[in-house]
Symmetry: C2
Subunit: 395 residues, 2 copies
């Protein structure tokens, strides 16, 4: 691979991105290349460069030194590009089939050059269109099980784990989650964003001391439990999918956190999609939740039995305890995600895209009741069937 | 302060240590200095340099690049000297009255130059002599409350906290605790060390699945909960004391861990001393445990109410939940410490120093029963009174 030395950050242009791809030797000489910037412009530039003859492409993702998440720019560390490429490489060492191949990264330019996945579709978009992606949950269950196990104190040398966790300390991106997922939606904070009609429902949430206490406990877990390397933002918009392939992208929020967090985010985004569908089309979403958990628990357990380096691994009851806590936490984290995607700063197209206003408001009210129940009753759910039950009871 | 550049590690001699103190300007010119190496030679060199006229002294502590903890040398990072001096400085920013003043540190020489505390006595030694140190628990309770609160997500900026935790990642020293406190004593491991007469009692422990499961959960907390900056080895041998002064030394095990850990280690070492005393002399130890907790909980709560930066701090029930978990964990950690100091690699003079063999064995059997009950029943103890009760019930 060609070595490209860069020492000063500058935002790439389509021309410079193409030149970089050529310098890196990613295309044959003289290939007719076309480059388009396809990012949303809020956090990153994303260049899609394609050889017009072979149709082969690459992606160059470049972090911008600011974010537009709250309407105006705020400075945001470029180090997240390093976190992202390191996370993709770490995940690839366990589940190469579920992440894009990283060809090159450059810390000073804050870029990651990686596999073009444009033959796939963002799962959120497909789910909104009514697709079901039959293998999605099997793949995500395996992705979470393997990345969690092999980065945990059970699956890797416990001293190396501490150093790996040290390299993924990610204060700025974690703060976004701490604020937008775990805090602001539970208080009358100006980042919140919801229809006026929902105000009575939202104020009921804000005055719910029991809910607030449980949300606080979940936030504390997120702040303190350095359990496994998480993707950190595993919603359906961070997943490319087709009927037979699944690729997890955008792990710039990666950090060491509680094992249930990625599971909870994923569950929540399946629930958010279910909330947007008529009842008779919801079954595939609940089936996905069941299968994600079953595949996760089954693979994690098998790895535990065969690959654990922890002396206590064979202790009767320990694996059950770890899985039980992962599940309970996942239910609670899912509740936080459902609520914040309904009334917080960053919504999802699944709910916001419901055209008929009364139906949209009804779905959002349902979301708030569902999220609340998942948070406060997380210890009472005995399995993924509980999602179906609580979903129905809060309709 | 004079700047002393050193780039290559070499163990100091008494002569070189004296020369360093002079170069640092810690003594007046021409002072008649006497230097003695007073360390135990296992992990560190400790030079005590005294001006024979003024009787003023300093301590130069130098980490050795090996440890003799298991009978033979094993390599051990010199970075622990940096951890130690940084921890002392961090603690000093909250409770300067309870740590030695650090005058100088040098990373390449692995040295910390600090206040001479030889007018005080190691608390373990004094307690064994029957001293009671009336202010010991008040001071340690305040030390733990303030260092814990101000390094937690409630007492400091949550992004700065992550960076502080990153600077205290301490794999090698944590491994010693993970092995010697949380693992080896619960398995038939060759680091264990106990009288042959105790073998039946020890084997009962090793065959106790419930105990092993609970010890495993406590170990996992130690491995994963990055809650507050801990001293990491807060036994009575890490505390200098007199009737009116208390100084915490030797924080080379410092790292971000569960809030109950330092409390538990301290409780356990008070219990180990109580185990070595006749019943009528135990009361001061239990009083110390009560007061440590009461002072800790009271100061921590006051700081929480007046200084917390966490939006959720005012949520009803949250402080109680944090304190309750700190207490339950402390009880469990205390149980692990009592057991490992009885049958593990590193014993305490409190128990080993009981001259009459049958009395010593009886005290150690009591210790094993006490430690076990604290671990498995930690959730049932409602307050520090529980230590008295379980102590009496396991006699």
């Amino acid at each position: 691979m060609t070595i490209v030395q860069s020492t000063v950050y500058e935002p790439l242009t389509e021309q410079k991105a193409t030149a970089l791809a050529v310098r890196l030797g990613l295309f044959r000489d003289g290939a007719p290349l076309v480059c388009r910037e396809i990012g949303d412009g809020n956090l990153n530039l994303v260049f899609h460069i394609v050889d017009q003859e072979t149709k082969q492409g690459v992606i160059i993702k470049q972090a911008l030194p600011y974010a537009k998440v709250v309407g105006e720019s705020w400075p945001l560390t470029l180090k997240r590009a390093v976190i992202e490429s390191n996370a993709l490489r770490t995940f690839a060492s366990f589940v190469p089939q579920y992440v894009p191949n990283v060809y090159y990264s450059d810390e000073s330019l804050a870029i990651t050059v990686m596999e073009d996945l444009s033959h796939l579709q963002i799962a959120r978009k497909g789910l909104i269109e009514g697709k079901t992606y039959p293998l999605l949950s099997r793949h995500i269950g395996e992705f979470i099980a393997k990345t969690a196990f092999y980065t945990s104190d059970f699956g890797m040398n416990q001293q190396e784990k501490k150093k790996l966790a040290q390299s993924f300390v990610n204060p700025e991106l974690c703060k976004i989650t701490e604020d937008l997922v775990f805090t602001d939606p539970f208080f009358d904070h100006d980042t919140n964003n919801f229809e006026d009609e929902l105000r009575p429902d939202v104020e009921t949430l804000w005055n719910d001391d029991r809910l607030r206490l449980e949300a606080a406990k979940l936030k504390r877990k997120f702040l303190t439990e350095a359990d496994v390397l998480l993707h950190g933002d595993l919603h359906t918009g961070s997943i490319f999918a087709s009927t037979d392939e699944t690729k997890v992208i955008d792990p710039e929020f990666a950090f060491y956190g509680p094992i249930g967090f990625d599971l909870g985010q994923f569950f929540a985004n399946l629930l958010l999609n279910a909330l947007s569908r008529p009842e008779f089309e919801r079954q595939p979403l609940f089936d996905h939740i069941d299968r994600t958990w079953d595949v996760f628990a089954s693979i994690f357990s098998e790895l535990w039995r065969t690959k654990s380096i922890e002396t206590y691994a064979a202790t009767p009851g320990l694996l059950d305890d770890v899985l039980r806590h992962a599940f309970v936490d996942a239910v609670g984290f899912a509740g936080c995600e459902v609520i914040r995607r309904t009334i917080g700063l960053a919504h999802v197209a699944d709910l916001d895209g419901i055209e008929q206003k009364e139906a949209r408001l009804a779905a959002k009210r349902h979301a708030l009741r569902l999220g609340r129940r998942l948070i406060v009753e997380r210890n009472e759910l005995t399995g993924t069937d509980g999602f179906r039950r609580v979903f129905a009871e809060t309709e």
